[in-house]
């Protein structure tokens, strides 16, 4: 029913052999114009539909709003197309860039560079935040918690910050332009994951530790502010279209 309401009523004349999709007349539109037996069929179907509609209204079965579109078939089919390409990329890269196997483990010789794989750099960087572990005057400059515990706690804080996001940000907004603040938080977090990873490989970067620590926290904030400003500016022009199309389909609560 709602399908037919949203369809434009435009009936274009002489638009080629194949009707463009938007201009395909709806089932109801086609039927109202016909006569004879097909007209009768239409009338009966209209009655049958109204009957269905009435029964549906009466029943206690709750029809929910559509919250998403189905995984099968189009999502999976398109994913297959894109995924097959990237699986090919895996096979090709595996053939051309074989992994390196370094020297065997030697507990008596500490290597100059100790690093986990790249995807743990952010966590490793958080472990190296000990220069920021505050010392208290009362304790004579001693630290309340050890540097290592401080690093572990930093990891816990970051992961739980990510985990609470859906409980803080609710509603039907989907696009970054609609919520510049949350987009700014996201960009800031993303930049932070890179700057903190840079601290993990600090001995490979020709910058002083103090400068890098500053950058690690300043850059995310700066990029967050820039994102916010840009999206706020875009928003004005964007909201007209959004309101017209989107809130017609998903009325705000």
């Amino acid at each position: 029913m709602s399908d037919e309401e949203t369809k434009p009523d435009v009936q274009s004349g002489g638009s080629g052999a194949v009707a463009p999709d938007d201009e395909t007349p709806s089932w109801m539109e086609r039927k109202t114009r016909s006569t004879g037996l097909s007209r009768l069929t239409y009338e009966y179907f209209e009655r049958a539909r109204r009957e269905d509609q009435d029964l549906r209204t009466e029943s206690d079965y709750v029809e929910r709003d559509v919250l998403g579109f189905p995984t099968w078939p189009h999502e999976v089919i398109r994913n297959l197309a894109i995924t097959m390409f990237f699986s090919g990329v895996i096979l090709l890269i595996a053939a051309t860039v074989p992994p390196h196997l370094g020297a065997p483990a030697n507990p008596s010789k500490t290597p100059e560079v100790i690093l986990p794989d790249w995807y743990l750099y952010w966590s490793f960087g958080l472990l190296k935040l000990n220069p920021l572990n505050p010392g208290l005057e009362i304790l004579g400059g001693d630290k309340i918690i050890s540097d290592q515990l401080y690093g572990v706690l930093a990891n816990v804080v970051v992961v739980s910050a990510v985990a609470v996001v859906p409980f803080l940000n609710k509603g039907s907004a989907r696009r970054p332009v609609e919520q510049p603040f949350w987009a700014a938080i996201g960009v800031g977090g993303f930049v932070f994951s890179i700057t903190i990873a840079a601290i993990a490989v600090q001995n490979l970067i020709p910058l002083s530790l103090a400068l890098q620590l500053n950058l690690a926290f300043v850059l995310p904030i700066v990029s967050g502010i820039i994102t916010y400003a840009v999206l706020k500016t875009m928003r004005e022009g964007y909201m007209y279209d959004l309101n017209r199309r989107y809130y017609r389909l998903r009325p705000p609560k």
């Binding site: 009655r47 595996a94 020297a103 507990p107 996201g186």
Partner: protein, 264 residues
């Protein structure tokens, strides 16, 4: 609701009122008979729609169907990252199973049997080097895809209200993927592996109260050795595959039930 039909849907009375010719009446009676049993109204509509939509094509996405904003279609590759990480996971599982035939989780000897077995896989085994390369690269791709997937979900607001549970599940999965990567990183028992393990032990020991117990459980002691590599191996090839596969199934099942949240 009552079983008795309402008057306005009494089709027989309607037929009488219409005053039809015999042909029309026969037609309509048989139509009603068939429709009441087979709901042909639904199928007829589908057929007609197919007929009019001569250019048969892929079912449209939500965005296309409602002509929302075509710009967002170009973000589409980012929507396949979750699926792609599953495919990479399957490739890693298949190659990992093959590698497991030839790998020995032991630190005995100098260099260790584990290291020697990895050398043997890469140099003696047919396609061994490619197998190891494939395993490692698919793991790298999976991790990268999982991170990008999380970023995509964040910026398209797909984690919002009815989907919080899946977001939390995703964080658990991403953490387990990292543990997967870490345990696998230790297995060749080279210098990088050993010292990454050292960091792991120190990190575990830094946790208050349960730290020592955790280090014992995961690394089999406070210094790295035979127990460590066996535990890492069991985690990597036995515990994590079961847990992660089950959680992926749950994650995808929830997505399947709730539908894909496309930006509107």
């Amino acid at each position: 609701m009552s079983l008795e039909k309402k008057d306005e849907f009494d089709h027989n009375a309607w037929l009488k009122r219409k005053d039809l010719t015999p042909i029309e009446k026969t037609f309509l009676m048989s139509l009603i008979y068939l429709d009441q049993r087979l709901r042909i109204v639904d199928y007829l509509e589908v057929l007609e729609t197919l007929y009019y939509r001569v250019n048969l094509q892929m079912p449209k996405s939500h965005t296309e169907q409602y002509n929302l904003d075509n710009k967002f279609w170009y973000w589409y590759p980012l929507y396949s990252l979750g699926f792609f990480s599953i495919v990479a996971y399957i490739i890693a599982a298949a190659t990992g199973a093959l590698l497991g035939f030839y790998y020995t989780p032991s630190t005995a000897g100098d260099p260790s049997m584990a290291y020697n077995s990895v050398v043997a896989i890469t140099t003696d085994l047919n396609f061994g080097f490619y197998l190891r390369s494939l395993h490692r690269w698919s793991a790298q791709f999976m991790t990268a895809a999982v991170f990008l997937h999380m970023i995509r979900v964040y910026f398209t607001g797909a984690y919002k209200e009815p989907r919080e549970l899946n977001w939390i599940l995703g964080i658990v999965l991403i953490s387990l993927t990292l543990v997967f990567g870490y345990t696998g990183y230790l297995l060749p028992w080279n210098q990088l592996a050993f010292w990454a393990g050292q960091i792991g032990v120190e990190m575990a020991l830094a946790v208050p109260i349960i730290g020592e117990w955790g280090a014992q459980l995961l690394f089999g002691g406070f210094t790295l050795g035979e127990a460590t590599i066996v535990r890492m191996y069991i985690l990597h090839v036995f515990v994590l595959p079961f847990v992660v596969t089950a959680l992926i199934a749950l994650h995808v099942g929830i997505v399947w039930m709730q539908g894909i949240a496309e930006p509107h």
